[in-house]
Symmetry: D2
Subunit: 345 residues, 4 copies
C-alpha cells in the first residue's frame, strides 16, 4: 500500500514535535512537510536533536502538498489555515480548539474571536474516538479534544451516559508542565515551577465549556461543571479526580462498587486505549503512551462517585489521539503507530 | 530568662529532625535530649549532616530530663510515652495522632487500637492555635494537628463558622513526598515517585475523621467530608483545594467575592501565620516557613465556594506548628523561632 | 519465521522490567517466561501496571524452557544461573557484572567473591556491539556492559584507539536514580534524592575496572582511569564528561576540533545507535531510546580533550543493549525492536 | 545601635530577591529601597508573594538614599551605577562581575566591554571572606564572587596555597537552574530542563578566568583551569568536583588522606561558614544556608586529589555571601542574619 503523505502545521510546539516523533515511526504514512515560524529554514532534527537520524526534513514556512494535515497552531490562528486545507480537499485533524465547541457563540465568549466558518464548525467532528468513532471515520475535519477534556470526559462518560451521577460535577485536574506549552512564561520557568503546586484559572478555563458540552451531549440534561486545573512539577501527565453525587436510584444498589466497576468495564470493553483499573492510577502508568487509565470509586460513606483518570497529556491528550483519529479517517487499524507501551519508571 | 530544656522523642523521622533544626535556633529553649531507635549512640549531626556545627547532641535511647517534650513517634507508640511524660509533670506537644480525636472509639475504628487513656485524651487540646489559642495556653498536653487537617481546616474554618457553605465538603489535597515520612516504601522510592502524580487512600485516610471532627465543632451541624489525598513529585508542601456549595442565603449577596474575601480577612486578621491572599497560592510561597496562605473564591456560575490553601507540611503542618504551640504553652511570643520567611525560588 | 522463545531471570528490577517492556513489542521473539522472587505467582501486569493489556504472563520462581535467556540478577547470584543455562545449551545475555571482567582475580578484588567458572568467563564476550560485533555474533554468552561503562567507553574509544589522548583519563558521570536500582535505600528515597546532587564511591566504584579494562584493550598501554559517579535528581539518563590530555603529536594539528570531530564521525559512521553530535548533548536527547550521543571537544587553551556522552541508562546502558546483543546473536537486524525515538520533552 | 539603611539595585532577579529575603530578617539593617525595571511601582510583596507580610516596600526605579547598597544588576550595566554610588560615598557590594577581574583587559576579552573605571577596579576587593577578610573590612567596594568560583575556590584554595597539587586543575560543576537566573530562556523552561542534565559553555565560561585568577594569586604559579559547568534538574545548589594531580613531594607522604584532611581542617578552622566534611557532600546539605561543605579526597591509585564542594548558589554563591561581606564592612558579627541552618529534606 502506498504511504499517505502527511504534514504538520506548526511543528515547533510540543504537540507539533510530538506528532513528528510519532509520525516518523508510523508505517502507513510519510511525513513530507512540516512548518514553523521562527524556525523555518532549519533542519527539524537540528531544532529538535532527539530526532537526529530519524528525519532529514527542513522546516518550511508554508505546508507543501499533502494528503492529510495536522494543524498544531494556536487557537484563532488555526481556523483560517484549516479552512484553506479543507477547501483544497485535504483532510485535517485540528489540534487547536477552533472546531471543538459546537456553538459558534462560545468562541466569542471563551476565546475572544468570532468564528470564521460556522458551517465548517457544524461539519467538524469532535475527535474522541471512544464516543464518536463512526462519525470520525467519515469526517474530513476532526477537532482533536483538549488535554484536560480527554481525561475528564473519559472519566465521567459512563457515569453520565448511564445516569449514575447527578449532573453537577467537580473536576480537579493535575497537569505536568508540558501542558502549558513551549512558549516561555514565568510560570513555566524551571526554578518557579519546580517544587511547586498551584491551582490556576479558577475564574474559568477554556476547557470547561468543552467538558460541559460533551458531558451534556451524553446525558439527558445540561451538566454543570466546576473545573479547577493545577500544575504539578512533572513534564508529562494529567491526573483528573472527578467528584459527583450518586443519584438516589443508584445508591440503593447492593454492591455499588462492583456495579460501577462492571458498568465502566463494559462501557470500555472494546476500547484499545482505555483501561478500567482496580486501583487509583498513577500518571506514570500511562506516560509515553496513548493509553488512558480510569478508576471509578464509590465513597459509600458520603454517597459520592469519585473517578480518577490518567493520561499522557501530549499523547492521548494531544498528538497520539490525533493520530488515532487519522488512523480511523484513513482506514488504518486504529492502533497503528501507537503501540509503544508506557515507559516506567 | 533561663532557657527551657526541651527534648524530642524520635528525632530520626522528618518531623523529628525538623523540630531539631528549628529548636537549635530558638532563642528561648535549649535542646538537651533527642532519642532515636536505630540511630541511638550516634551524633545527631553525623546522621543529619545539615546540622553539622549546630549541635553536639548524641542521640539517646531514652529521653533525659527535660521541661518540655515533643513526641514525634508513630501513632499508637506515642501514647504510652506521652502518658509517662505527663505523669512526670512534663508538658508535651504530641505530633502523632494519638490525642487528636476526641472520641476514644475513633481510635478503634481508624487506627486499630484501643486508646490507653481516654481521661488524658479528654484533657488534651487540639493544637490549632487559630482555633484554640486560649485552651492551648493552659494545656499540659497538646495534640498537634495532622498535616492535611491543618491546611484543610484553615481553608474551610471561616466558611463553616459563618455558615456560608453547605455541610458537605470535598477536599482534594496534593502533598509532597516528605509527608509520607522517612520510612522506605516503594511508593516513595525516587524513580517511582518522580514524574508521577497519584491519588491514594480513597477508601478512607486517617486524616478525614480529624478534619470532619474539627469542622463539625465549628459549625452547627455534622460536616460531611470527602477527602482525597494525592502525592505530587516535590519534597515539601501541601496544596488543598476545597469545594462546597454555597448556602442559598449567601448566594443572594450582591458581590459574593468581595464579601467572602472580607469575611476571611476578618477571621484571620490577628493571625501571625495565616495570610488571606488575592490569587491562587503556590505551595512554594509558603515553602520553608510556618505560614499558611488561604485563597477563597466564589464560582458564581455554579454557586460553589472553592478555597485553596498552601502550607509547608513539615512546618505549619508539623514541627513549626508544634513549636508555635510550645510558644503559647510556655509564654513565649507566638512567633519566636518561627520567623524565617518562605524560601523562594 | 517462527518466533524465538525468550525468558527473563529476575523481572522485578528496573533492568528486568524494562527488558519485558521492550520484548513484548519485539517482532522476532515471544516472551514466554519471567521469574521473580518475592513477586512469584503474581501477574506481571499487576506488579507493573504500565504493562496492563500487553502481557498475560505470571511471574514464576523458575525459568521455564526458553531458546534465549536474559539474566537480570544481582552480581554473584547471576553466575550460577547463567552457568546452568549455558550448560543446557541456552544462549544468554547476562546483565549482571559476572562475566564482564576478563581477569578472574578482579572478582575477588572488586566484587568480593571467587568466580565460579573462569573457563566460561574466558568464553564470554563483552557485549558492546560497537567494539565486539563479530565476537558477539558467534557467542553463546554475552556479558552486557554496565551503564556507566557504556557511556564512558563510547565517549573515549576513538580517542584511545587512535592514540589522540594520554592514557590517564578522568570520567565524571552524572546518573539518574533508576541506575541505583529498585531496591529501597535511604539514598534513593524521594525526599532525600530530590533537589540533591552528590558524588559517591570515590574510594572505588565497580565500574572503574570495567572501563579501564576496555579502554586498555583498545589502546597500546594500560589506561589509568579516575572515575567519579554522581547522582542527579532525574529518573533516567547518564551524562559522562571525560577529560584527557591531548598527546603532543596531536596538539600540533592545525584545526584540532575539525580533526577530532572527523575522526569520531568516521569511527562511528556505520553505527545505528551512536551519533556524534555538534553541541554538548542533553541526557534528555537520548531518553527512552537505545541511542548514545557523543560530543568530542578540544579545549585548545589547556590542551585537553573533553568528551561528553549521553545515554538512557536503562536502555543503551542495560536492557536495550541486551536486546541489541540478542539481535546480533540471533541473526535479527540489529535495530529490531529498538527503533523508538527518544521521547522529548 | 541605629540600623544601617540598605538598598538593593535590581531586586527582581533571583539574587536581588534573595537579598531582600535575607535583609528583612537582618537585625542590624533596615531595607529602605529596592529598584526594578519592569516591576517599578509595584509592591515588592505583590511581585514576590513569599514576602507577603514581611515588607511594605514599593519597587522604585531609582535607589533612594541609603548607607549601603547591593548591586544585583547584569554585568556591564552594574559598573556605571556602582561608580555613582561610590562617588556619593555609599559603600557597595556588587554582585555582578564588573569588579571581580583585576586585569581590565579581561573585561574586553571575556565580557565584551571596556571597563569604565580601571581605578575603581583596582580599589575593589574580591569578596571571598575566607581569603580577603581584612581587605574587605576596609573596603568601600567589594566585588562579590560568582557562584561557581565560590565553590571551586573554596574547594581548591588549601591545596593550591600549600602546593599540594599541580597547577593544572579540572573543575566539573553541577548547578541547579536558579543559577541561570530569572530571565526566560528555552534552556530554563521547565519541560526542557526537568529530567535533563547537560554540559554547557565548553568553549569558555566567564567564571573560568575568575577561578584561575584567584587560584593563581594563592599559589606561586599561574594555575591552568579547565572548567565545565553543567545544569542538573534542581532549583538550588552547586556541587563542584575538582581534579588535580598531586605533586611528587606530597605523594611520598605516608597517610596522604589523613594529611590532606588535617591540612584542610586547619585552613578553615576559624571559618564560620566552611565545614570540612568526612564524606562526599550532598548539595542538599547546604541548601538554604550560607554554609559550604568541602571534602578533600586522595585517589592514591591514580595519584590524584579530588575535592568536592557544595554550596547553595543563591546564598553562599551570591546573596548570603554579599551580606557576609556587608557584615564585615559594617562591623557586624560576620554571621549576623546568616544563621539559618540548611533545610532538609
Amino acid at each position: 500500500m502506498e504511504k499517505i503523505k502527511v504534514g504538520i502545521l506548526n511543528v515547533s510546539g510540543y504537540a507539533g514535535v510530538e506528532l513528528a516523533r510519532l509520525l516518523v515511526c508510523h508505517p502507513g504514512v510519510q511525513l513530507v512537510s512540516v512548518t514553523g515560524r521562527s524556525t523555518a529554514g532549519k533542519k527539524l532534527a537540528e531544532v529538535f536533536p532527539h530526532l537526529a537520524g530519524l528525519t532529514e526534513l527542513v522546516i518550511e514556512s508554508e505546508l507543501s502538498d499533502v494528503d492529510f494535515a495536522f494543524a498544531a497552531m494556536p487557537h484563532k490562528e488555526s481556523a483560517p489555515e484549516v479552512i484553506k486545507l479543507i477547501e483544497r480537499g485535504t483532510k485535517v485533524v485540528d489540534i487547536s480548539a477552533d472546531f471543538r465547541l459546537s456553538n459558534p457563540a462560545d468562541y466569542d465568549e471563551w476565546y475572544g474571536f468570532t468564528h470564521p466558518s460556522p458551517e465548517l464548525l457544524d461539519k467538524a467532528v469532535y475527535g474522541l474516538p471512544e464516543l464518536y468513532r463512526k462519525d470520525i471515520a467519515g469526517a474530513d475535519l476532526v477537532a482533536n479534544p483538549g488535554c484536560y477534556p480527554t481525561g475528564a470526559i473519559l472519566a465521567m462518560a459512563p457515569a453520565v451516559k448511564y445516569g449514575i451521577a447527578e449532573d453537577d460535577i467537580i473536576i480537579d485536574s493535575k497537569s505536568g508542565l508540558s501542558g502549558a506549552g513551549r512558549t516561555l512564561t514565568i510560570g513555566t520557568h524551571y526554578a518557579e515551577a519546580n517544587e511547586d503546586t498551584t491551582a490556576y484559572a479558577l475564574k474559568g478555563h477554556r476547557h470547561m465549556p468543552e467538558i460541559a458540552q460533551e458531558l451534556s451531549f451524553l446525558g439527558e440534561e445540561v451538566v454543570n461543571v466546576t473545573f479547577v486545573p493545577h500544575l504539578v512539577p512533572m513534564t508529562r501527565g494529567i491526573l483528573s479526580t472527578c467528584y459527583a453525587r450518586l443519584r438516589d436510584e443508584f445508591v440503593t444498589k447492593e454492591d455499588m462498587q462492583a456495579e460501577i466497576t462492571a458498568l465502566y468495564k463494559d462501557f470500555y470493553k472494546n476500547e484499545p486505549f482505555v483501561k478500567v483499573v482496580d486501583a487509583p492510577p498513577h500518571s506514570k502508568n500511562t506516560w509515553g503512551s496513548n493509553i488512558c487509565h480510569v478508576y471509578p470509586f464509590i465513597d459509600s460513606r458520603t454517597g459520592r462517585l469519585i473517578v480518577v483518570s490518567s493520561i499522557d497529556n501530549l499523547i492521548k491528550g494531544a498528538s497520539g489521539q490525533a493520530i488515532q483519529n487519522m488512523n480511523i479517517m484513513s482506514g488504518f487499524a486504529e492502533v497503528t503507530g501507537l503501540d509503544s507501551p508506557p515507559i516506567y519508571p
